[in-house]
């Protein structure tokens, strides 16, 4: 963040800027995420997320089954 110095206070020539590395700067106030709690979701969003959950579980099982098959666990190589 660059801050323009007050020439009266610093006695530096005008148009001087101080550039501060983020890790050396004062901590900045961020959004208070703790206080917000869980996101309010409409029914359609909730249903979409549930479908997504089912899709992910199904796909993972499918991949697991296929990899096991390729490893020869079911007596053949896929």
């Amino acid at each position: 963040m660059a801050t323009m110095l007050n020439p009266m206070k610093t006695k530096k020539p005008t148009n001087c800027f101080v550039v501060i590395h983020p890790l050396d700067d004062l901590p900045e106030e961020k959004v208070d995420t703790e206080g917000l709690g869980p996101m309010a979701m409409t029914t359609s969003v909730r249903i979409s997320l549930l479908s997504l959950r089912a899709y992910l579980v199904l796909m993972m099982l499918l991949v697991f089954y296929h990899v096991m098959g390729m490893a020869g666990l079911f007596g053949h190589r896929g």
């Binding site: 550039v19 890790l23 901590p27 796909m59 089954y65």
Partner: protein
């Protein structure tokens, strides 16, 4: 230079005393340049590390099999990868927290746990592929992997345990800059410039049409260019670096610069693959490609490509392991910052060390099922990616959380288009790998 001492909260730690130091400059131009140089890092690293060992393999294979025909696909991915990571920039700066923490807080424990388990699993499997690539490259260089792999793992641990985010970032940025040697390699191979420009700007289909192999490779290119760990890594990195609201534009520029570098380097990898193809070599893996290229050029090209392959794997490993460690630390509420010494954030560093150590160890086990792991990584990453982006999209539309930094309507149009395309590709990828006989093998 002004100095004073303040108390600042660090990630997961109550208070940390840090000195406030600044540099005085006289022109706006110098101010902007210096500010950018101070902010640059998370965007560049996430993008360049995305060109990891798997990416080297995928892009060089694309060049070796289809010449310059798929360059336009890579160029098309430049805005895609930028738009996705730019959302992470806004989210990270506005909240000052990592992606895993955000999913836990806004979607609840179940989804948080699901995302975390997915991430840690795919990350670990990807790490195994990174070390497998290091093993392969060392073998071709005549170095015993039983010595080289543990040394690489030790180096990867050493760069993070210094207790300084800046030290880690500078080291990794240096490794990112080494990636630019790909330009020298591509240029030295005397590329057909006209053909490259045409291949990049005019979408064209390779001879043979749309075959399942081509489809698979295109999906692999998309999957390797946009990966789930990138979302978690960049947001946590931004939070750890404590980027400020005033840094948003510089962080965007950092991300754009990284995206441009990663896409052009990806093009260089394709050009290297193309050069081996022109000389009649059949692609098996990037290490063998380096040897093939060395046979008609010089030892420099062979060793440069092998070293670049190791560099890509090292960059991928440090970024992916950190995304795991940050995510786990955020969820468990452990101190999780590279600014902290090991004794103050033991859990965070243990996750990193265990990730690196276990992956390196697995590669050294004789007859480990590496091919199955690589296959699993490709499919799982492909399956996970669209859902990870949906969470990101929902978070970026959360006005309560982001206010003016929330997505604009045009952002949403772009993002939903990307999500739909990625979902379709992920379904095809999963179906093709899970049931290879589902698609005909002849030309379409």
């Amino acid at each position: 230079m002004s100095n004073r001492t303040v108390v600042a909260p660090a990630s997961g730690v109550e208070t940390e005393v840090v000195p406030v130091r600044g540099r005085v400059v006289k022109s706006k131009w110098t101010r902007d340049l210096l500010t950018f140089l101070m902010v640059v890092g998370p965007g560049l690293i996430v993008m360049v590390a995305d060109n990891d060992a798997g990416a080297v393999s995928t892009y060089s294979q694309a060049g070796a099999q289809y010449g310059t025909h798929l360059l336009w696909v890579v160029l098309l991915l430049l805005p895609v990868t930028y738009f996705i990571q730019e959302m992470v920039v806004r989210l990270g700066i506005a909240t000052g927290k990592g992606h895993a923490a955000m999913i836990y807080q806004r979607f609840g424990n179940w989804w948080g746990l699901f995302s975390l388990v997915d991430l840690e699993l795919v990350n670990f499997l990807t790490l195994v592929t990174e070390f497998a690539a290091i093993d392969l490259a060392l073998n071709k260089m005549g170095v015993d992997p039983r010595i080289g792999v543990p040394l690489a793992a030790a180096g990867l641990v050493l760069i993070v345990v210094t207790g300084s985010y800046r030290r880690w970032e500078r080291t990794v940025v240096l490794l990112c800059l080494l990636d630019l040697v790909w330009f020298a390699v591509a240029f030295g191979l005397r590329p057909p410039v006209g053909q490259i420009v045409r291949g990049a700007l005019v979408p064209s289909m390779p001879a043979g049409g749309l075959t399942p192999d081509l489809m698979f490779l295109v999906i692999a290119i998309v999957g390797t260019t946009v990966a789930p760990w990138q979302l978690f890594f960049q947001q946590s990195s931004i939070a750890d670096k404590r980027l400020r609201f005033a840094d948003v534009k510089w962080a965007r520029l950092d991300t754009l610069m990284g995206a441009c570098i990663t896409i052009t380097v990806a093009g260089c990898m394709m050009i290297a693959g193309h050069a081996s193809r022109v000389h009649g070599f059949t692609f098996t893996d990037p290490a063998q490609m380096a040897v093939d290229i060395g046979s008609f050029t010089s030892g420099f090209f062979k060793n440069a490509i092998l070293l670049l392959m190791i560099n890509a794997a090292v960059l991928g490993t440090t970024a992916i392991s950190l995304s795991s460690a940050w995510a786990y630390g955020e969820v468990r509420g452990w101190p999780h910052s590279l600014q902290l010494p090991v004794r103050k954030a033991p859990g965070f560093y243990v996750v990193y060390v265990v990730s690196v150590g276990a992956a390196a160890g697995l590669v050294l086990i004789p007859r480990a099922p590496l091919q199955l792991i690589i296959l699993g990584v490709q499919v799982l990453a492909g399956v996970m990616l669209p859902s990870a982006i949906i969470f990101l999209q929902l978070l970026l539309n959360d006005k309560e959380l982001l206010g003016e930094y929330a997505n604009k309507p045009w952002n949403n149009w772009v993002n939903w288009t990307i999500i739909i395309v990625l979902f379709a590709l992920s379904l095809i990828l999963a179906a093709q790998v899970a049931a290879p006989n589902l698609f005909p093998t002849g030309t379409a």
